[in-house]
Assembly symmetry: C2
Homo-oligomer: 507 residues x 2
Amino acid sequence: MKTTRIHITIILLALTCKLSAQNNLQKVTAFRQANQQQIIDEYLKLVSIPDESNDSANIKLNAAFIMGMLEKRGVHAELLTPLQGNPVVFGEVKVPGAKKTVNFYAHYDGQPVNPKQWAPGLKPFTPVFITAPVEQGGTIVNYTPGMAIDPSWRLTGRGSADDKAGVMSIINAYDALVKSNIKPTCNIKFFFEGEEEKGSQSLAEIFRKYKDKLSSDVWIICDGPRHVSGKKMVLFGVRGDVNMQLTVYGPKRPLHSGNYGNWAPNPGLMMAQLLAGMKDDKGDVNIKGFYDDVIPLSKTEKIAISKMPPVESILKKDLGIAEPEAGDRSLIEGFMLPTLNINGMSSGNVGAQASNVIPTKAEAVLDLRLVLGNDMDRQIKKVTDYIKAQGYYVIDREPTDAERARYGKIIRVLHDAGYNAQRTPMDLPIAQSVIAAVQSTVNYPIVLAPSSGGSLPLFIFEKELGAKVITLPMVNYDNNQHAENENVKISFLWEAIETIAAIMQMK
Amino acid sequence: MKTTRIHITIILLALTCKLSAQNNLQKVTAFRQANQQQIIDEYLKLVSIPDESNDSANIKLNAAFIMGMLEKRGVHAELLTPLQGNPVVFGEVKVPGAKKTVNFYAHYDGQPVNPKQWAPGLKPFTPVFITAPVEQGGTIVNYTPGMAIDPSWRLTGRGSADDKAGVMSIINAYDALVKSNIKPTCNIKFFFEGEEEKGSQSLAEIFRKYKDKLSSDVWIICDGPRHVSGKKMVLFGVRGDVNMQLTVYGPKRPLHSGNYGNWAPNPGLMMAQLLAGMKDDKGDVNIKGFYDDVIPLSKTEKIAISKMPPVESILKKDLGIAEPEAGDRSLIEGFMLPTLNINGMSSGNVGAQASNVIPTKAEAVLDLRLVLGNDMDRQIKKVTDYIKAQGYYVIDREPTDAERARYGKIIRVLHDAGYNAQRTPMDLPIAQSVIAAVQSTVNYPIVLAPSSGGSLPLFIFEKELGAKVITLPMVNYDNNQHAENENVKISFLWEAIETIAAIMQMK
């Protein structure tokens, strides 16, 4: 009997909580509906500020704008400034009686951008709405402020998705709670980074300098695309990432391809031959020991992966891919392995500027994604050793005349700062709380993934702060992140505000 | 006795001729010395007119300027205009009593140009003097009109060497004879083409239309670089040339290299693997039947080649090449074979604009040089068949969605107009006359080569006009022809005027 009564009490309590959560969710939705014009207006202004990580003048304007956004909502904001590099915009809200502290992370800088590659009418820093992806025939909306906003529209611009969407969602989720008189259950910290897209080079320094100020029970990383199925998702890890820049040297000056053809070596061909050998026909990397350090998945992680909805047939159709690189290996299985991707390669000119020359050099940029167990320097060394084994003399600067006279195959190998992978165990109580909060906002089972394919410098959070880190992807998967025509679908922004507001109220 | 007397007469005659030739050479040199300011002034103006073959507005300005140059020297000039395409500037001088007619050819259009690739201070269409190649530390001369011109200077600009140097030398050689009261031994025709750099697409049409007007005993093609040894040279053939444009398709939109890495195929890698297989480690083309059609050299041609000064050690040092592509095969031996050169390749971005993406496509431009026996269409088919054999579905336009869904490897293969090779036998009397004229201007044995490495549409001269064609290269070999920082060394221009004047007086 007693047991039955307790059971009933628990059920009633749970029901009350659920009803209360649903009630609060409705309030947040109502706030967003009533204020969407102002939110969009502010979003357009934010995306209009150029955000390339190396453009420090504009980066400062972004930081100042975001400080203004926080202060307008009564949050005290400050800049955490490294010795060299871009500042973090930090804000803090203390909630009386709160037993948890949550740090919400997003980054306001964006990837480098080549405006010429954008579709006609789209410019990286002149955001406009489009009706659908331009690749699918979307057209530009003749938008004027005050017009009703269709949630199927997409807002275009560098950073619109990656990751000013994070900044916008976090700040407006907090705003929605305050304006709806809903008390958060946790102390809230706002942490907006300004150099994620160039490898978060100052993050460790900032963490060391402001360790106490930044303490929290969990970091919620608001970045990246939701699951291809369109379902909400929580991610427990990220891949690490490091870039390598390769330059193969040909003749000292460009040569007429007739007057030197069949005699002068062509650096484009040399680069093609070097890159070609790095992967086999099955999409596997041919480099010795490339997969050796990978730590196997836990049982819980394997189960989570097995429950993830399949996405491959949608992706094939959407992306125009007949044969994925690795045959039957699923997208998520591939995420659990390190990658070697050719981000770009170039030698001479193509198209209208092509001319009949043997170029002086060939360049390539490799992107190495890393998984748990991989060490960045060790992975770079494996690739460099492979290059050496192909007969290359490896340097980290331009070759001298003496080196050119001595070595037939010369390559410059550079790499950027990069960082290792990170994974948080899914069974931790704080992880379960976050899962429950996100689950409370939708009626279908949310997607749980041990690791994303993408990268964030979460490794440093653990190392410097001993922090727990959970990632909340928010934007549409077809957002052209890191590329031309980047965009965020408005409905995803609205849902992100609701999701983050739910986490701010988690049990 | 009689024989002796005849012998003495011949010797005296030959001596008189030689003295007369030397005397005339001195007069031409004196003319050039007295008029070098005006020549250079006109040269600077000519190179200042942009000359990319597709820039038809500026091409017309070039043609008008060159007509003016001829008319200023009393030569009636006219435009030979094709239905579509750029006009030929034609002029004619009839010499009373002349037994030969010689057509002097040069082209006034230039290769496409990317101004960003030029060295600081150098601009394609703002010619300046430099003290030496910029790659060897040459600096810009602070030149003002009237200043003494150092013959070791180089005049920079697109077209300065290739081939406005030809236009300048021919017109000024004629001017030197007229102003020095030297009567040419032949009727002279001036033929300046305006679309050589895009494959001389209208040349056959012009030849058919003006066949009678263009008749001559020989065409002297004034184009290309002199021998690497610096010696004067006569060339009896050219390679043919055709370009292929390849585009390999990846995903329909650029993808985040983390979120799709290890799953979406990378078109850069596919292109690298395709190109890599086209040549082996010895620099030989791996494509089936690539060398099959080559017609072997005659005995005379083999002897001429054996007498050519070796250039490889100079080139290695100058160009910073430790190992030529084909080991011990000499430069000239390589000229006698068809080539496959990668003019350019591109996928995604490198350098500051590199970002972590899987690009949508990879492009490459191939340059196929052809030798006697090769047929352009047959050579293209061999390469296309090779591509098909690598599993590619070959199209000549963008792929449809249905094709993307069906074929894992899709490539677009295009090619430009191009043309075949040409060789004139060295033993013809007219060939011997030209050789003797050029030889009369210097004290060392001139270089005779069966074929250059470069290309000109000389095939069409034989086919349409039944003409004999001999090529007279004139500019410094390190002229950066077809590339950034193109330049002509002034001393080579002065010598070209003397050489052409000698041919205008040939026996």
